[in-house]
């Protein structure tokens, strides 16, 4: 029994070394002073961090990524919050079907969705690339928004809503005064999770590039295919810090239970 436990804990340790080791290595190599990625690095330098700010493409695509993720998030909230509320609050015919539809963007292969959006939104509907990018990101954020908010509504006692109504509140008043304040942290967590999902997206964005329009992950992808200097390692470190910070906030807001639910 004890023996087995020790074996299992060693195994688990190795699994985590495999999982996190590469991320540690990438962080260390980002401080390489030379022009070629090496491990271990030959010294310590912040040169490549400076380079990020000097290469305008990174700054521009970073800005695009942020704008698209935030605007898309807002759009997904406007569409998703009412839908999540309706799906959690009411029993009605066709609810399961609608629920499946709203969650389906995660099921459809991203690369397929990206291609279809390019073909129909940009080419057939004639939308500008920027709009296509925004719409595509909204589509993939919607299921995350709906799922996280629905799970925070699952813990909400809807009798509270009836209580407000019996005390004289109308439907909208009830939603804004009673429902919304109680799912605020769920909504915030949903926003952050959806943000990461959109910010890291490659599958949609890779089809939505054009003159002056591209996102950071796509820029990184292109850069890696042409250069092998530590700039990308430096960006990676910054992104990981950002991710860790957002993850910490998400944990504070709703714990990690959401992730282990399927």
């Amino acid at each position: 029994m004890k023996e087995g436990n020790r074996g299992l804990s060693l195994y688990t340790l190795l699994v985590f070394v495999f999982l996190l080791g590469p991320l540690v290595i990438i962080s260390i190599t980002s401080f390489e002073p030379g022009t070629v990625l090496k491990f271990p690095p030959e010294g310590f330098s912040l040169r490549w961090y400076r380079n990020i700010f000097e290469v305008s493409m990174f700054m521009e695509t970073f800005k695009t990524s942020i704008i698209v993720s935030m605007l898309g998030n807002l759009l997904a909230l406007l569409l998703g919050v009412p839908a999540a509320y309706a799906l959690s609050r009411f029993e009605f015919r066709g609810r399961d079907t609608l629920n499946a539809l709203f969650l389906s963007p995660v099921l459809i292969p991203g690369i397929v969705l990206g291609f279809t959006l390019l073909r129909y939104l940009i080419v057939v509907y004639g939308l500008p690339i920027y709009a296509g990018l925004l719409i595509g990101h909204t589509v993939i954020m919607l299921p995350f928004i709906i799922r996280v908010i629905a799970s925070s509504l699952a813990n909400f006692d809807f009798a509270v809503e009836e209580a407000a109504q019996s005390l004289g509140a109308g439907r909208l008043e009830t939603f804004f005064k009673v429902v919304l304040p109680n799912i605020r942290s769920g909504i915030l967590a949903a926003v952050l999770i959806a943000f990461l999902e959109s910010f890291n997206n490659v599958d949609i964005s890779v089809f939505m590039t054009g003159p002056g329009v591209s996102t950071l992950p796509i820029q990184m992808l292109t850069y890696v295919q042409n250069y092998f200097d530590p700039t990308i390692a430096a960006i990676s470190v910054i992104l990981m810090v950002l991710t860790a910070a957002l993850m910490f906030i998400i944990e504070r807001l709703m714990g990690f239970a959401y992730f282990t639910k399927r």
Binding site: E162, A163, S166, L167, G168, A169
Partner: protein
């Protein structure tokens, strides 16, 4: 004239009727309970009155006005929920003040009313607490204060005590009755607990699958259930199906085969319809058959099958030619299993139901 009147109301859910052609009248200032097992339609009736549900058919009149299509938030009824449904993000004070603020009342008056109401439910000093920092009984009192402070025209309770433990439940129901009588507010109270309903109500309506089986004062229901369903629900555990009945002066004579029983008529001469005799386990008496019964008639001989100790009394399952009877009897030395006994049916405890 009745304050509340449900007229020919039907409510359906998933194409199944929960209430059909339902009628109910409630007098002003009275507390009426709806009693019945889950699924009998009592909560549906309450939610219909509150306005959470719409009737397919029928009318709901309140104070002579047609309220059928008045939305919940315009009815001015107080509702106390089973889960209390306190606003989790608001303090006790804000919870109670919620309805008053919606009525655009001045903050000074809100404060005065909330404070007074919290005194009434003995929660002075708890204003700043959040609901999650309160015990079940305190939450319940906040819920009641919140419903009362708007000076509702009608107070509605949906199983308000079912989440409390037994002692608290007894205290709270006394409290509810006290406040209700003090304010003279018309109240509809839903519960599946007969003791709870009987203890606080002016009138009890026993419901069964969407119909009111009996509507009467608690003591009337307790003593003279109108139907087999009501009798079973309130603890009449023994039944005898008689074959004929005839008038015998102050009593009714009943027979089944060669056996004859007497049941006393009711003081006011009403009721006692039907030919099914019902009697509570507590009201039957047992003697050992070796000993001569002190009374003749209304007896049945049997054999003790099972005996269980209930603390204050023993409970016996007695096998007779008319089936198995359950008898509760206080005694020092219990009957043994297999012992021959005589069961006595006091004639004033034997009730006839339909």
């Amino acid at each position: 004239m009745a304050l509340i009147s449900l007229e020919q109301v039907s409510v359906a859910y998933d194409n199944r009727f929960i209430l059909e052609d339902f009628n109910l009248q409630i007098e002003k200032g009275k507390l009426l309970s709806l009693l019945g097992p889950s699924g009998c339609g009592k909560t549906t009736t309450l939610r219909l009155i509150a306005g959470f549900l719409n009737a397919e058919q029928g009318k709901f009149m309140f104070g002579g006005k047609d309220y059928t299509n008045v939305p919940v938030n315009k009815r001015n009824f107080g509702f106390v929920f089973q889960s209390y449904a306190l606003f989790p993000h608001m303090s006790v004070y804000d919870n109670v003040a919620f309805g008053l603020r919606l009525r655009k009342m001045k903050e000074a008056e809100v404060k005065q009313r909330v404070t007074r109401m919290l005194e009434i439910v003995s929660l002075g000093g708890f204003e700043k607490r959040l609901p999650k920092a309160l015990s079940g009984g305190q939450r319940q009192r906040v819920a009641i204060a919140r419903a009362l402070v708007i000076e509702p025209d009608l107070l509605l309770f949906d199983e308000p005590l079912s989440n409390l433990d037994a002692n608290l439940r007894v205290n709270m129901r006394v409290e509810i009755r006290r406040i209700q009588q003090e304010l003279g507010i018309t109240t509809v109270y839903v519960s599946h607990d007969q003791e709870e309903c009987f203890s606080i109500s002016d009138q009890v309506a026993v419901m069964n699958s969407g119909k009111i089986e009996q509507l009467a004062h608690p003591t009337t229901i307790f003593k003279y259930p109108a139907s087999e369903y009501v009798a079973r629900f309130i603890g009449f555990g023994n039944f005898i199906a008689f074959e004929s009945r005839s008038d015998a002066g102050e009593d009714i004579e009943l027979s089944r085969g060669a056996l004859k029983f007497l049941a006393a008529k009711r003081p006011n001469g009403a009721g006692n319809l039907g030919m099914l005799g019902a009697i509570r386990p507590d009201d039957l008496q047992l003697w050992p058959s070796t000993q001569e019964a002190p009374l003749s008639g209304n007896t049945l001989s049997g054999r003790v099958q099972v005996s269980t100790y209930l603390g204050r009394s023993y409970q016996y399952e007695v096998e007779t030619e008319l089936g198995v009877f359950t008898v509760n009897q206080e005694m020092d030395v219990p009957f043994a299993q297999g012992e021959q006994v005589t069961i006595y049916f006091p004639k004033d405890k034997l009730v006839l139901v339909q």
